[in-house]
Amino acid sequence: MGGQAAAPVRLFGFDSAFLRKLERLSLASRYPTAGGSAGPRRSKQYGTSVEFAEFRNYVPGDDFRRIDWNAYARLDRVFLRLYMAEQMTTVSLFIDHSPSMAFGEPTKTFTAARLAAILSYVALHCYDGVVVVGWGDQIDCQFPVQTGKKSIPRVWRAIADVRDAPSGPTDFTALRDYRGSRSRAGLAVVLSDFLTDTDWRSGLRTLRGKGLELSVVQILAPEELDPSLRGDWMLRDSETAGEVEVTISPRVLRRYRQELAAHTATLHEFCRRQGIAFVQVPSDISLEDTVLQSLRRVRVLQ
């Protein structure tokens, strides 16, 4: 990494040993890339890499340099020797920085930003492009694609800016406004708590429609996974100012856990049907666990 990333490293608290571990990883793609600049990823197109693809009959206009002269000598026929193309892809990181993400210890936004930083580091280190998108009730931050290791500080700064910027309540329909070009379709990771009444299905389908290969990371605070509240409370929503009076009894807590499990199951099932990788992580999960186990388990990283 060197000195270029020294300052941003402090933004997220990564140490060099951890970053060296990240350098051995890459973002997993289940489909070949289509279009884009030359890069390290296998493409749907033929190119000039060292990986043999197939033979094809010569047709006028083909590049003479690709004729397999040995085959011509043995068979007295002209074949063209084709190789796989290797291209770069773009990784879009959608960071939910709505007010509900500001809860937890550490906050869900903080965890989402650290994950985005990790993913961007891995992507840029593999010569992939990175786009950082921050959204709440609308897409309020979208940084242009950045490529190359030298872009890491800029990308991390952009992520930090998204983390610290205020936003409105989560609205997944705002993702329809994402202006990603078709030529830059690639990987996308959505980082959110998914605690919203808005149509998150529509938002995810929109991104899928833009050709993005999606991964979803649901980040929940510990008190959301296992509330410790007891007694009579007037609960106010941090985003919508809605309120609910509740007497939290063991029975109500049991019902809450059932609803949370049902909500997670619905999200998980939707992702499975859409071919979207899904993982739920608590906001206080350690980076080692997150990166090396959770994300690798669901094939976001490899």
């Binding site: 509900s100 605690l195 509240l229 106010r236 919508t240 109500v252």
Partner: protein, 659 residues
Amino acid sequence: MTSRSKIPSYKVFGGYGCCSECQLGIVTRCSTPGLLGRLMSLLTPLALLLLAVAVPIVLMYVLRLRREDRIVPSIYLWRRAIEDVQANAPWQRLRPSLLLVLQLLVVLALVLALARPAYTQVRTYTGDVVVIVDESYAMQARDVAPSRFGAALEQAHRLSQQLTPGNVMSVIGMSAQPKLVLAESEDRVAIDRAIDGLQVGNTSTNFLASLSLASSLARSGESTRVVVLTSRDSGITALPIAVSFPVTLIRIGGQLRDLGITAFDAVHRGGYTQAVVTVRNFGVRGASSDLDLFTDGQLADVRPVRVDPGKEVHLFWTELPASVGRLEAKLAQNDDFVGDKAAWTVIPTEQTRSVLLVTSGSFFLQTALTIDPSVTLAVVRPEYYENALARSYDIVVFDHVLPQTLPSVSTLLISPPSGRVGSLRVGQERPAGAVSAVASPSASADVVALLKFVDFSDVHVARARNSELPSWVQPIAVSRGTPLIAAGDSGTVRLGLIAFDLQQSDWPLRISFPVTIQNLLHYLAPGQVVGASTVSVDHAVPLFVEAGVHRIDITRPDGTTDQVRTTSPLSGVAFYTRTDRPGFYLVREMGGARPLEASFAVDFFHPRSSPSSGARVLSLGRSHVANTRSTTVPIDLAWAMGLLALAFITAEWWFAFRR
């Protein structure tokens, strides 16, 4: 609650109006009251103030609960978690709530239970009840379930439940000795406890005494009814005395199956033991069984018995061994009656007495002494008598002889010559006359027993010797102040004295002469321990207590031992009365000159009637009810309100927690 179905219906039972619920012939009429008489009322209306409890319950539904604010990331999940239980918390405004309605109903029902709603019922009743429950042996029969006695107790409990307020009930246990178990109580718990305390026994009934007891309980000026719960074959069909109150006789019994032993006896005769057993069929059908005869605990014979209903058969054994002392007969077949399946008898042992008569010859005396077959008589002339001879005999009789010293065995002196022996001094003859019996207040029972069956009114004595008696000798018969017959016990020997010459009187010609001689022999050499070898249950058995006996142990058939302690050092007669259990009783006298043992048997022999076919319920005595009173009885419905409250609580709980 005020429907007509609550009013019992009636039917005539033996001339009396009888509540169909009791079926006992008791005249407890529950009349149908008018509308006003059945209006609801509250016995403790002040309890309605507790309805104020409903106010805070409603307030809890109206008042808003103060809650602490808390900002959470999202209420998305919380709203869904409490979505379907939100009906529990209509905090701000009173909304229709089934829970609230149920809780108010619970309060209302509880308050009404405390207020004790009641409706009134006018009842006409006849007053006090005296229940006589037969505790005799016949009530043990099980021809009705669980037994006649159990059925009687159930009916007595039913009478207790029907006792109207203001009336009392008495309970009498009817046995050979009737007992008042409970007198004039209104407390149903006490009445039921008294009824449960009754116990069926092996005794017979004493209806006269029981009815007399009931008569004493009948309060003058009040209407009293007597209910007699007895067995069907008790033989009671009429009142033995005139009474001023109605008597309802309820005879309990069914189709009895009972083959029982009604008599059992045995004697030693002709070198054998002869026994007879009588078996009677008290049932309504023919019955058969095997009869087992045991002699001294060993099975001696088994004979089949078949008896027609109401008939009896006799079984004889004529050649049983002569050594047999105790016999037991048992019927093998069980039926509705257990008590008469076995009988016991003891053959009285003949105690032989060896008597030495020192005489020059006396026809009357020798004849009187040999009447008793248990007496072995030896006669010796006075010149051949020596004191050493006396040790071989139980009694020495000196006729016209006064020995120098009294022998160490019991002695009878008849017309001794003048002289002195020990502290007895025999004086000169003097004229005598009519004889009269003397019973000294200090005389022991056995001395008094010397006069048993003796009548001196026709006895005359011409001359008798004046004697100075030792202090331990009491006169029994005197003439003109001169003791003619005397007897006493020195503590070591017994002495009898006839102080006149038999030839100088007409006594030997009177029946009292041999009787007195026999009494004297029994007194001077008492051999019997028990006075009866076989008795019926609850009959007293006389026990002859020898001098020096301080305790008598009686081992009962169940193995327990009763102890009778004697306070007098003299001989006498004691009576053992705890013969309530049939079987063999073993008697041991402890502390006497020699240990004495004897047995007697107690049998379950009662005069019994065959099952009569008369009405089950008989009405006897005065046939109308006097001083019939009407009263208004409040019927408390607090229990119903309590049940209603419980139902509401259950419904409220189910509604609150079912989801």
